[in-house]
Symmetry: C2
Amino acid sequence: MTGTPPPLPIPDETARARLLAAVRFDTRGLVPAIAQQHDTGEVLMMAWMNAASLDETLATGRACYYSRSRGGLWRKGESSGQVQKVVDLRLDCDGDTLLLLVDQKGVACHTGRRNCFFLAPRDGELTEIAAPLVSPESLYGA
Amino acid sequence: MTGTPPPLPIPDETARARLLAAVRFDTRGLVPAIAQQHDTGEVLMMAWMNAASLDETLATGRACYYSRSRGGLWRKGESSGQVQKVVDLRLDCDGDTLLLLVDQKGVACHTGRRNCFFLAPRDGELTEIAAPLVSPESLYGA
């Protein structure tokens, strides 16, 4: 088999360092990362990455974010099993936002919904437009 | 004709105030807003909103962001003509990210590309994977 290699993972540390150098992290050292299901286009969630979590994501091809609440790396799916394989990645025109094209196993949202964007204005009221597919308890234990 | 009214615009100021109260703006008073083409799922751009720009977006059904560089409201398309009609809107599970479902006229990116996410790793190098559809000069004048 020949052909184009997949964009990720990127085992070469020097190549990863070049990519990281193109990202404009904010004053906190973070960059927003949008996760989109690669084949359906569904926007699943937005989270944050620091340089270490982006480097790990590039190296492994699995989404690793930075948890602002916990102050550390957040390997998506580590506790819930709902991992994100990163199929491809985009950096935007001014280098300060990432778009991850992922293959989401199960559900992306900690509420048990497929995606986090389930609140919408309906008749001027913020309304839940999607129900959980699984219970949060089944994701994180009782 | 009867039927469900469209989610936007929301003329009722009190209803808009209730929606705004559900948004968790950051310490700068801003919230990230992802713009997605409503029918194709293409993620076009990410920008920021403050309360005033979100209120205007809800009131008019046209995307209005907050420009961090200019420090003021940024009515998308005001200079370029590339306006975004906001068809629907989502708030995420923890209230700190917006997803706008838009109908983008022309191109979203100031480089003349349809979307801002045109840089991708190819063979470990950050590579432009989309060409401009129009020249930036034609959008903003020479």
